[in-house]
Each structure stands twice: as C-alpha cells, then as structure tokens.
C-alpha cells in the first residue's frame, strides 16, 4: 500500500433543493492520497469549502464499508464509479490517475427526486418493500428454526438475492430508470424460501404494482443494472420475478375482506 499523491478536477452537480435548478461546478482536489477512499477525498474537498465559508457538497453516506446502501452517485457516467462490485465508499483513489477529470452526478430518475447536490430520495424503494416485501410472521409465533429443512443450495441462492443493499445503482444505471433488479431481488429472496412461498403470489402482484406506481421505467434487459450492482445481484432474479408475476396473475383471486394484516 504505497501511498501516492494525485490531483484531480471534479465537475460536481450542485443543486440547492428539490425544486431549484442545478448546475455543474468545478473543484480542484489537490494532494489526494491514493490510499484514501473516494468519500474521504470528498471530505477533504468539503473541509476546504467549509474553511472558505462555502456550502459543502452534500452526498449520502453512512457506514462507509459498503453495506448500508446510503452512498452512491455517478462518476463519469458510471454508478458508484469505474470499479465493479464496489460502492463508492469502498472505491479507493488508487483507481484513478493523476490529472483525471471526474464528473459527479446524482442518481437521475423521476422516482428518485434530488434533495440536494448528490443526495436523492430513494424512499420509493421502501414503499416497494412495504407493499409486500415481507413474510407475515408475528413476533412469537415462530416454530423451531430447524423444523423446516432448506437445502443449502436454495438457502445460498436466497441469500445471494437478499444481499441487495438498496442503494439504487440499478435504477441509476438503467437507461429506463427501472427498478426491476431491486424489486426482483426481494421477490426472489422470499420466494425461494419455504417460509416465503406461502404468500409469494400476493407479494409479486403487490410489489410489481407498487414499482410501476412509483414511476420507474420498464426493463429492456440491457443488463446495465447487474453490471453496476455493488453486490452483483443477478439478472436471473428479474426472470424469476417475471415468472412469479405471470403465475400470480393467472391464479389471481380477489383478496377476501376480513383479516388483513394489522
């Protein structure tokens, strides 16, 4: 880990609020250590902006270890930057060359309104989960954890789908701003497990309907979502969602009134 110093030029999207007009502004990032993470580089730029009394560049971030899904913006048109399987907080400056010009833009999608600068509102993804991305299992009602056997391969496959961090890179990189990869990962994760199979149909119907209602686009199978996914969520999830959705639509029965899930 030989640390080197590089200088960069940043063209950053600055936008004061959701309704205001935004524009690109240029900043110099000088003396950047290649051992720094990308966000630490931005911290450094912000530190200098604050010292000058200017507003720092706002971006979402929290755990800085690639798991909370808070961070994410476009670097030169790539969601989370040039490195595969990497969130922007895990992207380190050794991936860049001295003198590079980097364009930083927020995720752009109707369903992800910009809050400020590089920060967007991804609550649409929460509402998709809310519409059905769960198993109805009240606290205390569970049987012993080992009473239902799950083949290891099945459990592993469900886990792979469940590793989605909800960062929104799939939507950002899709030319249609579609949320099919996100939605299908959750549908797959639960549909693959015996516990989740029970309400798989209701889940598929409700989650797809919510996804469409949020104003995301349609999938045209370009594969950009999976290519830019920091957790390598596979396109086969979308295929599974499509199957589940077709099956559910064929079997569709109107939900009976009573009960509910309150």
């Amino acid at each position: 880990m030989a640390d080197k110093k590089i200088n960069l030029t940043l063209k950053v999207w600055r936008q004061r609020g959701p309704k205001e007009k935004g524009e690109f502004k240029t900043y110099e990032a000088k003396n950047v250590s290649t051992d720094e993470s990308f966000l630490e580089m931005l911290d450094q730029v912000n530190e200098n902006l604050v010292k000058k009394g200017e507003d720092p560049i706002v971006f979402d971030h929290d755990c800085r270890e690639g798991i909370c899904g808070s961070c994410g913006f476009m670097i030169n048109g790539d969601a989370h930057g040039p490195q595969k399987s990497t969130t922007v907080c895990q992207l380190h400056m050794r991936a860049f060359k001295d003198g590079e010009v980097l364009t930083l833009e927020p995720w752009r999608a109707t369903a992800f309104p910009i809050q400020k600068d590089l920060m967007v509102d991804r609550s649409a993804l929460d509402r998709i989960v809310q519409s059905g991305g769960f198993i109805t299992a009240n606290t205390g009602s569970a049987q012993d954890a080992n009473s239902i056997l799950i083949p290891k391969t099945k459990a592993d496959e469900a886990f792979e789908s469940a590793t989605c961090i909800g960062c929104g890179a799939c939507v950002a990189s899709c030319k249609n701003a579609a949320a099919h990869l996100f939605t299908s990962a959750k549908i797959s994760h639960l549909a693959l497990l015996p516990q989740g199979e029970v309400e798989a149909e209701r889940r598929a119907l409700r989650m797809v309907a919510q996804m469409d209602a949020e104003g995301f686009g349609a999938c045209t199978s370009t594969g950009a979502c999976s290519a830019s996914c920091p957790k390598d969520i596979s396109l086969t999830n979308i295929a599974r969602m499509n199957r589940e959705y077709l099956k559910a639509s064929i079997n569709r029965k109107e939900e009976s009134g009573g009960g509910g899930d309150g």
Binding site: E36, V50, I67, S85, S131, F134, A137, A155, L193, Q195
Partner: protein, 639 residues
C-alpha cells in the same frame, strides 16, 4: 437520587424470574391498544424489532430514524453472527452456559437476571428470524450451521456469511414495513432526536430536527423507547457509521436519565489499521476470522522483513502461547490488549508498526482456498479493496479499533430508565454485557430487547400508568422546541474559523490516548483538563456554513460533536473513579503480574450510574450493587 433508581429484579429462582415476571405484568386489552401510542427512536435491530412487535400488538407506533431509509441503521454492518443457546451442535451448550459465558466475558460487571433472560430469549430470536425469511447459513442436510466466536468453547453462533447484521436487520425492517403498510407504524425518516419532552415527570415525547427542511418538530406519545445505538464515535475513528452518535441518549441524560458505566467501551481487536490523517473511519474485519486465522508478530523487535520471509521459528503466535485453551478465540478485550502490548514492545508490523498479522495460510493449506472463500469471501474482498493487498497470499494486518460501547443509559430489569416512560433498548442501554461484550452478542441483545422484552414491559407500563393524552401545544413541548432552536442558532452564530471535524478529530485523539485501550490516573486527569478547553474552543470557534432551515450536514455534525465532547468528559470521569481494571476498562495501575486486568470486587462490584446536574456542576455518581448468586465471582481466566 431519582426515586426510579431501582433495578426491579424480580424475586424467585434465576430460571423462572422472567416467566414469573411476565405473568405478574399487567396487560392492555387488545381493543384498547390502538388508543395508546409509542415513540420508537432508531430503527436498527432493537428499534425496528420493537416497532414491528408493538405494531403487531396493535399500538400506534411512531418510528424515527436519521437515515433516508430505516434499513440503513448501523446494525446493518454487523458481520460475524448472532449467538443462541440452541445446542444444535450437541457440544454441551445450554442457556446456563451462554449466561455463564456472557457474565464471565463481561468480567462480572453485568446483572445476572438480565443476562439470564438474554440467554433464554436467544433461542426465540433464531426461530423468529428464520420465520421471517432471514437466510442463515445451512448445512447440506438443510439444518442451520454454526461457527465459533470469541470467549466460548462451543459453536453457538448463527450467521449469514459475513453479513449477519444486514440479514437480521432486513428481517426486522421488513416486519416493521409490514406494519407501516397495515397502518400501525408511522415512519418518520431523516429526523434526528434533539430533546426528550417530559410532562409530570414522565417521558411524553420528543423534539426532532427534520434533516431535509431544518424544521423543529414535536411528537407526543404515551411513552418513548430509545434504540439509538452506541457512542464509539466519541473516538472519531471507530468502526461505527458516520451518523452514529450519542446525541439522543445524551439529551435524555440531560433530562434526568442516568448514564451508566460510560467508560466501558469495547476496542475490537481485528480492524484494518489506520492509514493516514484523512481517514474518516475504521473498518472491522469480523471476529469470525479468528476461527481460521492465526494472530502473530515477529519474535524479534523491529523485524521489517515481509511476512513470508519470517520463518516459523521466529514468529510469536502470542494468543495461542498465552491462552492455550482459547487460543485465537480469546475475548476481544484481551486480544486487543495483547496486540497493543506487542506493538508497544516494538514488535508491531507494517509501515507504522501499529499492526499485527492475522494469517490464513495454515487454514488455506488445511481446507483449501475455496472453503476459505466460501466462509469469508466478502471480508477478504473488502480487505483487498481498502488496502490493495490480497489476504489469500499475504497475511492481513490488523489493529484494534473502537467498536462498541457497553455503557449507556441506565435501565432497570424492564429496560426503563430513571425517567418513567423512557425505555432504552439495544446498544443504547448499558444492560447486559458488563465490562466487555462477547462477539455475536450485540445482535442477540438488540433483538431480544426489541422483539421480546420491550413489548411486554411497555404494555405493563401503559397498563399501570394512567397516561392522559397530551398535545404538542403543551408548554413543555413549546419550551423544549424553543431550547433546541436556541441551541441551533447559537451554533450557527459562532461563525468561527475551525471545521466541526477538526474538533471531532481532536477529541478523538484525546480520548484514544487517555481513555482508550489502557488508562491511568495521570492521563485521565490530563484529559479532564483538556476536554473542557476543547469544549470552550468549540463553542467559540466552530464554523458552520449555510442555513439552519435546509439540509445542513455541518450543522448535523456540530450537534453531535457538541454532545460527544460532554460525554467524553463523563467517560474520563467514570474511568478515573473506577479504580480497578475489568474487561475493556484497563487501568495501568491495576493489573496482575502477567498484565491481566485486576478487578476489585470489594469496592467496585457495582454499576456506576451518573446523574447530570447541569452544565455548571459536576455530575453525581450513584451505585447499583451487583449480586452474584448463581455464578461465583472469580478471576477471569482464558488460559
């Protein structure tokens, strides 16, 4: 002293205390539950599980989180696993053994009754998680798999590769989102709690800042449950997420909630070492790695050869040497301290000499690279991304880093603080881990509190107290909101020259140096001189650009740092007063000849709970004596 400073441990034998207590608690009629409201602050494991469970019961729950989405709470980053006394491995585990290991691991500074309940509930958590679709690791036969963790000689840790926290949190989060869908939970995201509102001596609401608009909002309820996590970020560099803060807990403390054992902090032994001044956080490498990784340093001081060039005979596998029966799986406080000792001796490795090796070459030889990749693939990948080195080929370099705080708001057996109606769950309370937390026990505690304790005890509180409806137009709300506004405008009006981070870093250095892995009277006294100076400098020279009525990340940080500075002072005070070494609290003056922590059970077998007396007066230290009736107090040995 607050009349509420009573642990309320139920009578009767240890193994039936909780069952009996549950029976004795009052219930709220199902039809009446919807008339009662509960505020839950924080949506990590404890908060999300509490909100989901209470929503299921029918209460009107208002859940608050600082993040854009509740799924981003820092529980998501927990890697290794969750303990449960299932004894699926037939290796001699039991509820009593988990209880014993936890009390011993905590160096006998936790309540027996609480820890026993935790061990009992651990088995229900696994059942609940699996029912929710949490994809825990399985064997080929379809049964759940286990791994070993520090401080235990049984395999009782359930896991989902290196992402156990994420998977458990998504389970709790999905349960909560189901209640949002059903209308029983109302979600308030991007809100930060800045004050607790009390009416007639009871917690009745909170004041939050809407981080998007800057608006100061008031929210009322019948009671408040705080699940706001720990305060490791007082050290600036820690494994915690950037937004982790003590602010909510500290504001409650200032309203009368005692703060217990603030000096009990956990320094995790296996983290990626610091690389430079601009570093913003430290990254944990899961303790599970110590299942297969061997920790060593060169035997010769200042040996600068590459790891592969150091022959076997010149390596010191010091944990295996000193603790033959636990080896590399010695508890965290011990493993951290030993790493520090080795580096202090001048046998540390890497450019800075502040690191030790965690070596997988033997395990790769024994099990093959694929098996290791299956167990720890994502951790190895993360390590490589950060350091640019491939841990399959060269040993990892690791060093201890602040990770977890055992201290927190004092709570009784019902998880209620000294403020009636204020419950505290998860890492935010002090309850179950004593002076050191064992690996894979934080997830267990967060979920036990949220799923299985708080829903009962909150019901009991509501049934026993005739809480009258209040409105946010009540004087107390107005005054609290005004106080928050005044503080914010005071911060904004300083218009000094230094950034918030510069103060935070300075505080972090002071704390790490004087109240870190080892502490002594001189250093602590020094810190107690320096910290007030820092506080003064902060309030007279901090610079916050922008406006308070919009997204202002510097202002958010400033509010948090202001509280960290005050907390730091209390931590040092607490560390100074506790004239013994126990668990993570190591005083240089109190150690055995072979450098182990030397407890003083005569004088310090108690919880220290601090009462805030206002900015101008020193806090008052109260004691809750700890009684050990089921386990014999003994010197902790892992040899």
């Amino acid at each position: 002293m607050a009349s509420n400073f009573d642990s309320r441990i139920p009578g009767g034998p240890l193994d039936s205390k909780w069952t009996q207590h549950k029976f004795n608690m009052k219930l709220v009629n199902p039809a009446n539950k919807r008339k009662h409201s509960v505020i839950v602050v924080g949506t990590g494991l404890a908060g999300a599980s509490a909100a989901a469970s209470m929503g299921e019961l029918g209460y009107q729950v208002k859940a608050f989180c600082v993040h854009e989405s509740p799924r981003r709470a820092h529980s998501v980053a927990a890697q290794g696993g969750i303990n449960a006394a299932k004894n699926y491995q037939n290796d001699g585990d039991s509820i009593f053994r988990l209880f014993y290991d936890t009390v011993k691991g905590g160096d006998f500074r936790a309540r027996e009754a609480n820890v026993y309940r935790l061990a009992q509930l651990s088995v229900d958590i696994i059942d609940q998680a699996v029912a929710q679709g949490v994809p825990l690791a399985r064997e080929y036969g379809g049964l759940l798999a286990n791994r070993s963790f520090g401080g235990a000689q049984v395999s009782r840790t359930f896991y989902a590769r290196g992402q156990t926290g994420q998977q458990l949190l998504l389970g709790a989060y999905s349960g909560m989102m189901r209640q949002v869908d059903g209308g029983n939970v109302q979600l308030y995201s991007r809100r930060e709690m800045l004050d607790l509102v009390m009416i007639d001596g009871k917690a009745r609401g909170i004041i939050v800042r809407n981080l998007l608009t800057g608006e100061i909002e008031s929210h009322e309820a019948d009671c408040v449950v705080m699940c706001t996590g720990g305060y490791s970020n007082v050290f600036f560099l820690s494994t915690n997420a950037m937004a982790c803060a003590v602010t909510a807990a500290w504001r409650a403390h200032k309203r009368g909630a005692y703060f217990a054992n603030p000096c009990f902090t956990q320094i995790h032994p296996t983290c990626i070492p610091v690389h430079g001044d601009l570093q913003s956080k430290l990254t944990l490498m899961s303790e599970s790695l110590r299942n297969d990784g061997r920790v060593w340093v060169p035997k010769n001081k200042g040996d600068k050869r590459a790891a592969k060039d150091i022959p076997e005979a010149e390596r010191d596998y010091y944990l295996e040497r000193i603790y033959p029966s636990f080896g590399n799986l010695a508890p965290r406080d011990i493993a951290s301290r030993q790493a520090k000792f080795r580096c202090d001796e001048g046998r540390g490795v890497g450019e800075t000499g502040q690191a030790v090796y965690l070596d997988f070459s033997d395990a790769i030889k024994r099990l093959g690279r694929d098996k290791i990749a299956e167990r720890y693939g994502n951790l190895f990948q993360m390590y490589e991304k950060i350091t640019g080195e491939n841990p399959y080929e060269t040993p990892m370099k690791i060093y201890p880093a602040p990770h977890y705080t055992m201290g927190g708001l004092w709570v009784d057996y019902n998880l209620m603080s000294t403020i009636p109606g204020l419950f505290v769950a998860g890492e935010a309370n002090f309850s179950d881990h004593g002076a050191n937390r064992l690996g894979a026990s934080a997830l267990m505690q967060g979920l036990a509190d949220g799923y299985f304790v708080v829903p009962y005890t909150v019901s009991d509180y509501i049934a026993n107290n005739k809480v009258e409806k209040v409105s946010t137009s009540h004087e107390a709300f107005k005054a609290a909101a005004e106080g928050v506004r005044a503080e914010i405008s005071k911060l904004m009006s300083v218009k000094g020259t230094r950034t918030v981070d510069s103060f935070h870093k300075e505080l972090g250095r002071l704390m790490w140096e004087h109240c870190g892995m080892s502490r002594n009277e001189k250093g602590l006294k020094e810190a107690l001189v320096q910290i007030p100076k820092l506080r003064e400098a902060f309030w007279s020279d901090v610079r916050i650009p922008g406006d308070a009525n919009e997204i202002n990340t510097e202002l958010e940080k400033a509010c948090r740092v202001a509280d960290f500075i005050e907390l730091g002072e209390l931590m040092c005070r607490d560390a100074l007063e506790r004239k013994e070494s126990c668990g993570g609290h190591f005083r240089d003056e109190y150690q055995t000849p072979d450098n182990e922590a030397l407890r003083d059970d005569q004088n310090f077998c108690h919880v220290a709970a601090w009462e805030w007396k206002g900015a101008s007066q020193p806090p008052v230290r109260h004691q809750e004596e700890l009684k050990f009736e089921n386990i014999k107090l003994s010197a902790r040995s892992y040899k």
